[in-house]
Symmetry: C2
Subunit: 338 residues, 2 copies
DNA sequence: CTGAAAGCGCTAACAC
DNA sequence: GTGTTAGCGCTTTCAG
């Protein structure tokens, strides 16, 4: 109705109206026990009446806690991270926290500046799917210097002493590769991801499994790509090779999807001539041209578990044991490796 | 190195070290002109040395501005909204704003509580892809009562006097339907979305175009669905009908993808026997089993334009003309309507 | 049980 | 140019 912007109601206003102190009202708002029953109900009534909403900025400054946590992901458009974000939000919301989501665009410097911003905003904790190069620890040190708890997600940093939640990347590489071998493939190519633990681990699992099976692949069977588009182009090169691969293991679903596009476009049949497998079980995997076999890594659960660990760390004085949660990857076999 | 959490450096610390007043330091930090060159450089040096980072909570309280804006979307997993979020972030970041992203899960009550939280956090503005039922204005009134600028995204509310940025939904419906007619389809079914302006507008465009072409469709040719899964089931019902549709217009890409899944599963060929078109041009549209024809609505640009309008409104005293940006939809014809 | 005092770290507005 | 005075709206601490 009244479209005249009103200055928000403050504790002070309620206190004045009721002839009690600001403190008493504050206590009622926060649900402290030490307030008389009758006083409490009078205050509560007035609060409802005026529709009082606490000013969280003021509250945060005084209490030195914001009840905000920061989440930094490399790319929100990748549904894997969107799902993590969802899991995080779902986990912390009931506890009264809000999450500020930032996109690092897979760029370490941008990420560092996001971290600084979030720290400047006094977040109580940080969740980080970091795009830092593996040996660069400056960002983590800055966080630690501030004493703000944080949890690493998806990408691991061996030298950093922080909790981590993610999938077992080497296991992912092994499972995917073994699956292709089991399906009779012998010339298995790999679209490797960026040089982060995810990409490196999956590639390592791939190489180990190949070696264990006594398979050797020609020079050039491992190509690099970061998204569906670069994977598309990389795959076109792969298809020129002699002998041509009879399988491609993409380091994530988007790259596998890009590979499929190149393969089908070349008039090659999936899975008859080339089998394809990805990682991530993104939501649309089974809607692709050929439903994509993939390795599921429970993204929602990653978000939730990371959030749980973080919240516990926030509520604790100092030095809890550094937890590492490795989620067991699960093979989802679909048409693309039939 | 030093993993001993240090209390953050404050203006006061720098002021003390340099024997100047807190104000002077504050002015330097904010880049005010009225500071002596020599003083400024001393302060700057110390700031760098100590790696001073302003406390934004305190700053926000004092300045009565947080430089945070809130963005509420129904579903971050839907890449349309993820893309909008990205566009928003990209647009406001260089201006010093941060965005707090919230998920309403397509639930009006949850959305209302998110709005309250964001308002409580004193955001400077709000971007809202609202899940409110069309006649419910309580949320908007609460925002207006606080005098916080906001702009509506994607879903429109005719009675609400706020800027709006989104696609022209009726045009979308017309273009999609006309395209199917042009391709020779005569029994065009529609998977209608929820009863919001998006769903309603697209359906209206569909019906108008059908009428204009003198086409009538049997009872039951319009079914409702909200996501790929419900669309999958709805389409299975559609396929039982007699006569069977020769085209399906899905109100967005996920529903169209779900429809395709049901069609192909039934052994029916796309586009030979049934043509399919969606809306949104989501990122993976051309990777689907049959590359999906769709209507593009420039999601990134929606985010950017909405953010621009909001930022301008924030920087203004009061009452700017209420801008409505209707983005022209563009047909992207792919294999599914060949 | 209630409240007064003392800030949280910073900035607006105005003097000097 | 620089600094002073007053807070922003809330919570902490501790006395009554």
């Amino acid at each position: 109705m009244s479209h005249t912007p009103t200055t928000p109601v403050r504790l002070k206003d309620i206190a004045r109206d009721l002839n009690v102190s600001v403190m008493t009202v504050s206590k009622v708002v926060r649900g402290c026990a030490d307030v008389g029953a009758e006083t409490r109900s009078r205050v509560l009534a007035r609060i409802k009446e005026l529709n009082y909403q606490p000013n969280w900025v003021a509250r945060s400054l005084a209490a030195r806690r914001t009840f905000m946590i920061g989440l930094i992901v490399p790319d929100l458009m990748h549904s894997f991270f969107a799902e993590i974000a969802k899991g995080v939000a779902a986990a912390i919301r009931p506890l009264g926290y809000d999450v500020v989501i930032c996109n690092s665009e897979e760029n370490g410097d941008l990420e560092a500046s996001e971290v600084d911003r979030l720290l400047g905003r006094q977040v109580d904790g940080l969740l980080l799917a970091s795009a830092q190069p593996p040996s660069s620890h400056a960002v983590f040190e800055r966080i630690e210097a501030r004493g703000v708890p944080y949890v690493l997600i998806d990408r691991r940093f061996a030298a950093v002493r922080a909790p981590y939640v993610g999938a077992d990347d080497e296991a992912i590489g092994r499972i995917a590769t073994q699956h292709l071998i089991d399906r009779g493939c012998r010339r298995i190519a790999h679209i490797a991801g960026p040089a982060l633990t995810t990409g490196i681990g999956r590639r390592k699992g791939y190489e180990e499994t190949l070696a264990a099976a006594g398979l050797r692949v020609p020079e050039g069977y491992v190509v690099e790509a970061t998204d569906d588009d670069s994977a598309y182009h990389a795959t076109r090169r792969l298809l020129q090779m002699n002998p041509r691969p009879d399988a491609i293991f993409g380091y994530n679903d988007p790259t596998a999807a890009g590979a499929m596009k190149a393969i089908l476009e070349a008039g090659i049949r999936i899975p008859e001539e080339i089998k394809v497998i990805g990682v991530g079980n993104v939501h649309y995997s089974d809607l692709l041209r050929v439903p994509l076999s993939t390795i599921d890594q429970s993204s929602t659960s990653i978000g939730q578990q990371a959030a749980d660990i973080l919240i516990k760390a926030i509520g604790t004085k100092r030095k809890r044991p550094i937890k590492t949660v490795l989620i067991d990857p699960i093979l989802i076999a679909r048409e693309s490796t039939r």
